[in-house]
């Protein structure tokens, strides 16, 4: 009961978080200043997610092969590899280093 109650509570909270902005704002448009901020929200959140994902709480999850694999994926993509291929190359690089 404790598990299912928690799962349902988190799921409902998640729905409300996603619905909150549209429910409050409706068809009102954001003022220009807020739109300028919103325009940068995607890159900012992504960069934050990468750091949080790689570093973990207190930077305790930092893992050399994982960071290397992510960097290799970035290089492969910069060299015009398709996204999925670049990610697989990065994963293979991390797996290769871990094999050594």
């Amino acid at each position: 009961m404790r598990l299912w109650g928690s799962i349902i509570a988190v799921s409902l909270a998640n729905w409300l978080l996603k619905a909150g902005g549209p429910l409050v704002l409706g068809d009102r448009r954001l003022p220009p200043a807020a739109r300028s901020v919103v325009a940068l929200m995607a890159p900012v959140l992504l960069a934050g997610l990468i750091v949080v994902d790689l570093a973990g709480p207190g930077w305790g999850d930092l893992n050399g092969p994982q960071v290397l694999g992510v960097a290799v994926a970035g290089v492969a993509w910069a060299l015009r590899a398709p996204m999925l291929v670049a990610v697989l190359v990065g994963a293979a690089a991390a797996a290769g280093v871990r094999l050594l």
Binding site: V10, L23, R29, A39, M41, A42, L46, A47, L84, A95
Partner: protein, 225 residues
């Protein structure tokens, strides 16, 4: 492009992040089953919460403390969706209720894939990408809970690289202006600094302050993808 074309394009773009989400679902299902959650609960959670960070947060905190603290932590980790919902709203159409329903398609990856620059979002593309990403999570969770692959083996295969690598490629794709680069670096620095003193959810929420650099200028006229 027509709505149908954008939906299909979104679904096509969603395949990569969908594969990463599948791997994440696999890890979550295996970890949840190992923690005694069984098979139905983690699969249901993946289908209805549609958020990896909240799922892993609840999994790690529920057994260690009170239900209230565990639920609050998992919710706070997702507070960024409130900001993302506000950002998306200008691109949505219809009543408040219908907009709120459409906003349920938000995920980190589809939010980025649907961004067309200048704070504008392609909603059909968001839906197409989210459909693929959404399906991959509970399916991965179910298989993970049933098969319980060894986490060490998944690490040896480099599966832990998949998700952050996709995020890196998506952020590189967003680097269409100097301001975007500076904002992203600020967001990364804020998140990285705060990780030393607080929970990842707070660090991520605070990272959105990096976007405040946008107050210094008018919205940029970026090329629409």
């Amino acid at each position: 492009m027509s709505t149908r074309s954008e939906l299909i394009e979104g679904a096509r773009l969603g395949v990569g992040p969908g594969a990463a989400t599948f791997a994440l679902g696999l890890s979550f299902g295996a970890a949840a089953a190992a923690a005694g959650w069984g098979i139905a609960a983690p699969t249901f959670f993946s289908a209805f919460a549609f958020s990896g960070s909240a799922q892993f947060s609840l999994l790690t905190t529920l057994h260690a403390g009170s239900v209230v603290v565990a639920v609050a932590s998992a919710t706070l980790i997702n507070a960024r969706y409130l900001v993302m919902g506000v950002a998306l709203n200008d691109s949505l159409r219809g009543s408040r209720g219908w907009r709120a329903v459409q906003a349920q398609a938000l995920s980190d990856a589809s939010f980025m894939l649907a961004h067309r620059g200048g704070g504008r979002f392609d909603v059909p593309r968001l839906m197409g990408a989210s459909a693929v990403i959404y399906l991959s999570r509970p399916v991965g969770t179910l298989i993970g809970a049933l098969r319980q692959p060894d986490p060490a083996m998944m690490d040896r295969l480099g599966v832990d690289v998949v998700f952050p690598a996709f995020f890196l490629l998506l952020v590189l794709d967003e680097m269409r202006s100097r301001q975007a680069v500076v904002a992203a670096l600020r967001g990364a620095a804020i998140a990285g600094g705060l990780l030393l003193v607080t929970e990842p959810g707070y660090a991520l929420l605070a990272a959105t302050a990096g976007a405040l650099i946008g107050l210094r200028s008018e919205p940029e006229r970026e090329e629409v993808r």
